[in-house]
Subunit: 239 residues, 4 copies
DNA sequence: GATGAATGAGAATTCATTCAT
DNA sequence: AATGAATGAATTCTCATTCAT
């Protein structure tokens, strides 16, 4: 019964080739992360390094949490020297905050982009559920959500930011959808508009589940979310 | 934008009287925590100290997380010397694990005790929801759940234990209830028995919410859970 | 042309015997510094260690200045572990300040004790000059004065303390003596009472001289101070 | 009780205009320091940069001491890139040494130039005293003297240089003056020629005083030096 | 059993120096 | 020549763990 602190000595440096999985790229264009093509100009190189640090930091922070992460490891994983981190970030905390924010942007983008496609509210939510499971719950992005849940209490400003930029916006969008569903007669219970959290809850549980128990007890998140939607919309479907 | 690391210098020691709020006692009998009455015999004294350490550790670990917690602070809060901790626990990690387990016992007890009271499944679940919000989401016990969510990824054995002792049992109990509901015609969608998580999800979201956003955006958890139950059982009640 | 930074690897630890010169003891009773007899009780041991750290710190700080001194070296020289320093002093700066203050006490004591012996003002000042040269200018105590001159600008509070506790008191005492000398007709120029610094100046120069040029160009400080006194009192003596 | 380490972020660079006070130019011709007129030829430009670095270094080293000075700050203050310093100086220490030497030249010049003007020895020394207070004790030049006193012990070669170039020459010049005074009957005590330090001592004390206590307890250095001269020459003047 | 002083490995951060552009 | 990004050795400070009292 040991805590996971296997020190990742000798992690792939940039020079020796990048072995990070594709899922690693969180809000970082894949070409940047790879560090294979080296841009000719200074600014691009700097941006690249910064991105590498953020990517490496994300890996480490999600794997170990804020306090247990060593900047030494972040540097090694990013393929830069320890001091280089400090050229881009004031201190460990600034890196952490910046990193979470950077990682959140694509989440926000996703959330706001989804409804656009059209169709019935039920269809929109179903697409949302599938996209969420595919792109968040079962990928690296889910780590960010888990990271925020884990460290949020210790970083109120982070929780605030997350609330402001993701949660309140997301819930507001969800409320709009629900109101649309009520107006169109798809959703019966009008009180649902007061608690968009209900609609989202199983999705969040899926995220936590994958992170904590996924390995031992996999969860068919898509099926679960579909049943939950049936609860909300009335179980027309047979799937 | 700072992390919360307010060092709790000069925390009430046992000698100077215990000022911790009642909510502090999590799975620790109040007489033990208080350290007011001093048992005459050795064994009882030892047990008392051990309990004080566990209680103090719970406070610190939930407030700061595993890595950021100082045993110094735990000792001070428990009113014992630092070395004493090592008389009871092999190391910091053993304390942490032991402590979470100890804290989980009453949760398990609660979960298994609830259905006993009788009534319709709907009534049972409603009682469960109220009890959960009252005793977990809005109290110190919620901190434990949040702690497990936060550190679970770093302590697989802990996540395993939690899964085995709490989650699987709890879900199994919930499944039984759901099947009862289906059999009695209270619940229409039979597939719900495959995903008891759906029933529990809003409750968990309430726990997370209180911990992260509760201060700025309070959530009427009871109302939310009731609406969710209406979704599951059909909205007979309008409360 | 190199700066002096010869790292004193393997300095005498307490265990291997104390090789520090006798002149080292600055306001620290010799029995304490030696660390030969180990006191039976805790408190005494602690005081002893604290004293050892202060003594070691004085050596290092006077030899290298504040910024260039490594606490590692102080610890090694004091025969304690690095962390032990932090049990006694908040940080490097606190050690430095505390150390200078501690070292100043005997200086103050000396200054205030000297006039007591009696005799003509001229005799008192001559005794003072001899004592100063013997006990300060040519010993470890002079290092403290030089240290304050060197770091004073960087540590205003230290300069303030030095001014308050040593300089102003010392000058005040000197003024009293001068006024006595004027009253008794020993000193002709009454304006000297306005500038006791004049009387002290050659003594200070002697301190600086020994520190900077003493090795190459020794200065007969006693002779110099005597001639200076002749200037002040009229050159009756021809020595 | 904090050490003074106010990091001079955003110091006026050469490009943004030089805001340093006139007193800054210590042995550096003002046109060089200003970096306003840009010479057309390479060599002149280089010399200009070198001078700017020296001037900036002087500011920083006198303000913080050798060890605590950051070349980053020197570069910023000089309006050059950090690397440029290394084009002119081997390393930090070379800059320091070179800088002190450069700064000392005008001091030497001053010392040797003064007696030339003629008049009685008393008059010469009085002129010297006034010039010293005006040009050294109360200006940036005093910082150099203080710097040498502070770092001299750590840089023996520097102390040697200072001794050779300034102290011994200066004292020799002073001895000549004293001998002149004795020959002319102005000075009675012939032994003064053996200790020119006595004549200089109050001037040095004035320098130290201004640096350490000047802010809180200003000293009328000119008045003090005059009284001291009266001691040496017999108090004819009452001023 | 308790204690808490002492330890020293370890982590964050700084900064002199180098070097590709 | 000049630049300033990058480096990594060095240093301060922390804290889990030990152990003499």
């Amino acid at each position: 019964m040991r805590a996971v602190k296997s020190k990742p000595r000798k992690i792939a440096t940039a020079k020796s080739g990048n072995t990070r999985p594709a899922a690693n790229k969180v809000g970082v264009t894949s070409t940047q992360t790879g560090r294979t093509a080296r841009p000719s100009n200074r600014a691009a190189r700097a941006a690249q390094r910064r991105a590498a640090i953020i990517a490496a930091g994300l890996d480490e922070f999600t794997a170990r949490g804020f306090a247990a992460t060593r900047l030494d490891d972040v540097a090694r994983r990013a393929g830069v020297a320890k001091g280089t981190i400090y050229l881009h970030f004031k201190d460990k905390e600034a890196l952490f905050q910046e990193l979470v924010r950077t990682a959140l942007v694509p989440l926000i983008v996703n959330l706001t982009a989804l409804p656009a496609a059209g169709g019935s509210i039920r269809e929109i939510l179903e697409r949302f559920a599938e996209a969420f499971v595919r792109d968040v719950a079962e990928t690296r992005r889910g780590d960010i959500v888990r990271l925020i849940m884990a460290e949020g209490a210790r970083f109120p400003s982070l929780a605030d930011f997350y609330f402001r930029e993701v949660v309140s916006r997301g819930l507001e969008g969800m409320r709009k959808l629900i109101e649309g569903g009520i107006a169109r007669g798809e959703i019966r219970d009008a009180r649902l508009a007061d608690f968009p959290q209900i609609v989202v809850a199983p999705a969040l549980v899926a995220v936590m589940w994958q992170g904590l128990f996924g390995r031992h007890a996999p969860l068919d998140a898509v099926a679960m979310l579909r049943i939950h939607l049936d609860l909300i919309f009335g179980e027309r479907r047979v799937s």
